[in-house]
């Protein structure tokens, strides 16, 4: 079997063999790792359980990070949703809630599963659990969601980057948003081509996003960028399922993300030297948390 290196190849393989992109990813994993399909499904089930537990903790426990910068927002949103008067749509907000819950647990040095990174770990599970609520898929389809997201992340990681330090936040939450959008479409019964359009619509909206964490911590703005990333993924998926296309092919959007990341200044790549980290409040928080400024400009 051929190994896919681009979104175009992944879509073509899925179409030609009349399979889900998740199945193509699983077959490739069997080939590359030499492990059985069962072992690979079991491994993904382990990741799924970690995600589920992190979301539950974030919603139900009183999470607070060591710096006190984050924690408790997922719980607030949970209560708000339960009151039943939401404006933007219940499943969108559930995705946002799951994303924040995961990232708040991450910031508090809890256990999470990186998707594709820890700083962007909320988007994929947030969307997965919201979709599971809406679509009531089989357990296998829930794991397939993660394989499809993984397949997209695999292409992005090998053709561009997934770390804020190398490509800015577009590489982290941008990649996670693209991964989730494609996986939502597949779970909802869309075609591989529609998944690719959802990926493009999602990622083009994250292009240029810088990595500017306050005090160098994976907290502000990370938690809320995961929140809104999840909402973008949901809306991009709906658009693609409506038959809306994006004229720039997915692989070229990924390449654009790469070139933008390459030309992004050092101060905006996880160094805590620019953007929100360099605001008066950002600097004051840094001094408050560490007693001194971490970095000299």
């Amino acid at each position: 079997m051929a190994i896919f290196k681009t979104v175009a190849e992944l879509v073509e393989l899925a179409e030609r063999e009349n399979k889900k992109m998740a199945q193509i990813m699983i077959e490739q994993e069997v080939q590359i790792s030499g492990k059985s399909k069962q072992d690979i499904m079991d491994n993904m089930a382990k990741a799924y359980r970690v995600m589920e537990k992190a979301v539950q903790r974030g919603i139900n426990e009183n999470i607070k990070s060591h710096s006190s910068l984050t924690g408790g927002d997922a719980k607030k949103l949970h209560r708000y949703i339960q009151q039943g008067n939401v404006l933007s749509g219940i499943h969108v907000l559930e995705a946002v809630m799951g994303a924040m819950a995961t990232n708040e647990v991450n910031a508090a040095m809890g256990t999470i599963c990186a998707t594709p990174t820890a700083g962007s770990a909320g988007i994929v599970p947030g969307c997965l659990f919201a979709m599971a609520e809406k679509l009531q898929p089989s357990y296998e389809d829930k794991l397939y969601f993660l394989f499809t997201a993984g397949a997209i992340g695999y292409v992005i990681a090998n053709n561009a980057f997934i770390a804020g330090a190398t490509g800015g936040c577009q590489a982290e939450t941008g990649s996670a948003t693209a991964m989730a959008a494609a996986a939502i479409v597949e779970m909802a019964g869309g075609t591989p081509r529609q998944s690719a359009h959802a990926l493009s619509i999602a990622l083009q909206n994250m292009l240029g996003l810088v990595c500017d964490p306050v005090a160098g911590l994976v907290e502000v703005p990370c938690v809320k960028r995961n929140a809104i990333g999840a909402s973008i993924a949901m809306v991009a998926a709906d658009m693609a399922l409506a038959g809306i296309e994006f004229i720039i092919p997915a692989d070229e959007v990924i390449e654009a993300m790469y070139r933008i990341g390459k030309s992004m200044p050092h101060a905006l790549k996880e160094t805590a030297l620019g953007g929100l980290a360099a605001t008066p409040t950002g600097k004051a928080l840094e001094r408050k948390i560490f007693g001194v400024e971490l970095v000299k400009e």
Binding site: K5, A114, A118, A157, F161, A163, M179
Partner: protein
């Protein structure tokens, strides 16, 4: 292709808050411990680039020391690693460098224990994936995804063939191999990644080859 597995993307399962600065750092520390092969009594850790600027916020220091204690990325002991290291008698020194490194997330680790000494450089390339880029000054590239063999030997003809012969006899397939040396005719280092795990008998046979100075095995 730097990322080979779907679990490089959906994973690792880890203690927060950063895959590159926490989980990746733990993996670099663990690779150093595995290559060193025993508990060090002193560890000098130098951070470069983004690691140097933001290590406090990401717990990079805590994570890399957790790795030196042979803890995995999801081990809750990582949170207490500095105390655990102290209790085990490991003297930890953390420093930062303004020097330019090839990658923004670079760490150098120097370990010692009596006569034994090791210096490795590792980079955290994102999502928890890492590469070891230097061992005792030899430039190489090890992903830590596959079983690997590090063979230090005298730089002369026939060494690669003899080592490859042993692997061939044991039906071990070489997936990736690199040879590095500091100067012609001095010491050289072979880094060999294999598809299958290697037994102690393989190591013993390689060690017995004349002009082989040291052999270390690294399991993923």
């Amino acid at each position: 292709m730097n990322y080979r597995s779907v679990f490089d993307i959906i994973g690792p399962i880890m203690i927060g808050p950063s895959s590159s600065h926490t989980a990746g750092a733990a993996r670099i520390g663990r690779a150093a411990r595995r290559i060193f092969g025993l508990k060090p009594d002193s560890a000098y850790i130098t951070f470069y680039g983004s690691f140097a600027k933001t290590y406090k916020g990401h717990g990079t220091d805590i994570a890399i020391v957790g790795g030196l204690l042979d803890l995995d990325t999801y081990d809750e002991g990582i949170v207490r690693s500095l105390e655990l290291a102290k209790a085990q008698g490991i003297d930890v020194h953390i420093q930062t460098s303004e020097e330019d490194a090839d990658h923004p997330n670079t760490a150098k680790i120097e370990l010692s224990n009596g006569e034994q000494w090791l210096e490795i450089v590792g980079i955290s390339i994102g999502g928890g994936s890492v590469e070891i880029t230097s061992v005792n000054g030899f430039k190489l590239r090890l992903s830590g995804h596959h079983p690997a063999l590090l063979v230090l030997h005298e730089d002369k003809y026939g060494m690669i063939a003899q080592v490859a012969n042993v692997l061939s006899r044991h039906k071990l397939n070489i997936g990736h191999m690199e040879v590095a040396r500091k100067a012609k005719g001095s010491e050289a280092l072979m880094a060999i990644e294999t598809d299958q795990s290697m037994g102690e008998d393989v190591l013993a046979e390689i060690k017995a080859i004349p002009s082989i100075l040291a052999v270390t095995k690294l399991d993923p």
